[in-house]
């Protein structure tokens, strides 16, 4: 009786029912045996409760149908889990307790809902709101569903429902950029090409040639000259942007969307923001995740469904994979693509890779995603805490030196600060690519 009944078809008597039955009957017998009418009075409530419980015992097993609202969510968003329970006559209350899982916040708090059975409806619905506190793949449930009769005399369950895996894509950090792309090469888009062609960006006024459209004739200058002049424009092209994510390590404590961010949190959110921004601009965007447990390559494409694909790939990232030395040093990136490498720059490997890519002629910008304040997994009572903090400060100094050397090698490194983070550096890069240079092929 103390143990919950696991048989889903059975209503098991509880300790409360046994207590009422045993003590009520015993009180009656002792009262009669000892000629004590006061014991009759004392035993009355237990006897009434016991008889009431027996008469209102439910028969038949409840049926539980559990559904979840959405299986794909953005970080910080919530969905609803519904438990529709059909109960037999006599069932009085229902309870649902969801198993606590990391990064899943429940409302009500702690994931427990109790409710009286709705006798007017064929099924009683219990709702649990679950909010995803961090990107990744998180398990919701399983939940234990149980039911009780009057006086808590008989209980059914708890029976476990199935668990769901929810894909939580990173919440893209706020980002906006106005700088032009260094060298757009696609067919259509919003970036100004270096070559003249059909577009909206003014290039020059030149004499009319066979094949020019009449609407291109520039009448003010034509009236002042002997012949017809037309307005020449630059072609509108799209760019290829490759976002490279360094998932070699995850430093710092992550407290989800509402708390402090780890280095991988900041990296993934910055990558999501860059992907989303460039896809919305109409650029072709690709994604490469390096040194993750499962390396991911998403070929460059455009469109909202492609963005969804990239965000799903970001949600699957697990830090700490080994570096594959066999990887093509150019990472199969097309010439002319703009490479945005998001990395906390804690290990030297991504810096070496950035230098290597830049030397092979690619336009690359390193986005430093190490949060300004990193919270470590250190127990305040741990005597080694000071040593850990000292070691981290030394590593930060070494990191600064590494970043300076990378910058001297011609790789721009820019701090991730959200909107406008990349504007200045992209303008500089655009100026630089127009200048003559040497490249190692």
């Amino acid at each position: 009786m103390a143990e919950p009944a696991l048989d889903s078809d059975r209503w098991a008597p509880t300790w409360a029912h046994a207590r009422a039955l045993v003590l009520g009957a015993l009180g009656l017998v002792v009262a009669v045996a000892l000629h004590r009418p006061d014991l009759l009075v004392i035993g009355t409530p237990l006897l009434v409760v016991a008889v009431w419980s027996v008469l209102s015992r439910p028969h038949g097993a409840p049926t539980v149908a559990a559904t979840i609202g959405r299986r794909r969510l953005r970080e910080g968003r919530a969905t609803t889990v519904q438990f529709s329970v059909t109960t037999p006559v006599g069932a009085r209350e229902l309870s649902v307790s969801s198993t606590a899982t990391p990064w899943v916040e429940t409302r009500p708090h702690n994931g427990t809902v109790i409710r009286a059975v709705d006798a007017d409806k064929p099924a009683t619905t219990l709702e649990l709101t679950v909010r995803m506190a961090r990107w990744g793949h998180h398990v919701v449930g399983p939940a234990a569903v149980g039911s009780l009769s009057s006086w808590g005399a008989y209980q059914w369950g708890p029976t476990m429902t199935t668990a769901w895996t929810v894909e939580v894509t990173p919440e893209a950090a706020v980002f906006d950029g106005r700088a032009p792309m260094p060298h757009p090469q696609g067919l259509v888009g919003v970036d100004r090409s270096a070559r003249p062609g059909a577009g909206s960006e003014f290039a020059s006024i030149r004499p009319f040639q066979l094949g020019d459209r009449l609407r291109r004739i520039h009448w003010p200058s034509s009236l002042r000259s002997d012949g017809l002049n037309v307005t020449a424009t630059y072609a509108d092209n799209d760019s290829q942007v490759i976002v490279v994510v360094d998932a070699s390590n995850d430093v710092g404590v992550s407290r989800g969307i509402d708390g402090s961010a780890s280095s991988l949190d900041a990296t993934v959110r910055a990558a999501a923001a860059l992907c989303e921004h460039h896809v919305r601009r109409g650029d072709r965007v690709g994604l490469q995740v390096t040194q993750a447990r499962r390396p991911v390559v998403v070929r460059a494409a455009t469109g909202v469904s492609h963005l969804r694909r990239m965000l799903a790939a970001l949600a699957r990232i697990e830090a700490g994979g080994a570096d594959d030395e066999r990887v093509d040093p150019r990472m199969r990136i097309d010439a002319g693509a703009l490479v945005l490498m998001c990395s906390p720059l804690i290990s030297s490997r991504p810096m070496q890779r950035a230098v290597s890519l830049t030397r092979s002629g690619l336009v690359l910008v390193v986005v430093d995603t190490l949060p300004h304040r990193v919270e470590h997994h250190v127990d305040p009572a741990d005597p080694a805490r000071e040593t850990t903090e000292l070691a981290w400060r030394i590593r930060l100094l070494e990191r600064s030196a590494d970043i300076r050397s990378v910058t001297r090698a011609g790789v721009p490194v820019v701090d991730w600060r959200g909107p406008g983070s990349l504007d200045q550096v992209l303008r500089d890069v655009a100026r630089k690519v127009r200048a003559p240079r040497m490249a190692v092929r």
Partner: protein, 179 residues
């Protein structure tokens, strides 16, 4: 500085049962104390007995889904039988109501899942049921007191049969109304 393990255990237990669970369990312990004090007032006062019963009540409050509440109610009845001299039918309604409250509080505490939030509808439902049984108990007590005061009383067996019949009829009626 690390907190003592006992303190951590108690705080975790309190967090697990929540405010509503704490109120229910507190009512259980309070009823045990009231019953014991009533018996002491009518019989002999014993601090050790009072403390022992309250401690037993605390155990029942911590593990309501066990035999502990049964032991508590049995101990309350035993104290009444042993201590109260002469037999008092008039005051028997007090331990009867205390027994009811202990039983209902233990049943409610056992049925509440961990971290269960307060639900007003369910609380009203439990209070309503308890009120009905308390009313029945009061009616039975009235009958018993009347029969006890009669100069030519019926035998206890007759009283018991009358009482059982009344209880069964009331329970059936209550069940019908309830469903």
């Amino acid at each position: 500085m690390r907190l003592p393990a006992a303190y951590v255990d108690v705080s975790e237990f309190l967090e697990r049962i929540g405010t509503s669970g704490l109120v229910v369990r507190g009512t259980l312990v309070l009823s045990v104390a009231v019953s014991s004090l009533t018996a002491s007032a009518l019989g002999g006062y014993s601090t050790w007995l009072l403390v022992g019963l309250v401690l037993l009540g605390c155990v029942a409050a911590v593990v309501p889904d066990s035999s502990a509440p049964l032991v508590v109610i049995a101990a309350m009845c035993a104290q009444w039988v042993i201590v109260v001299r002469p037999v008092s039918v008039t005051w028997s309604v007090v331990p009867a109501l205390c027994v009811l409250v202990v039983h209902v509080a233990a049943a409610r505490a056992a049925s509440l899942p961990d971290h269960a939030p307060y639900d007003a509808v369910l609380m009203q439902h439990w209070l309503g049921q308890t009120g009905v049984v308390a009313l029945v108990t009061f009616l039975i007590w009235t009958v018993v007191v009347t029969l006890d005061a009669d100069p030519a009383p019926a035998g206890v067996g007759v009283t018991a049969l009358a009482f059982v019949g009344a209880a069964v009829v009331t329970a059936v009626l209550a069940w019908r109304l309830d469903s």
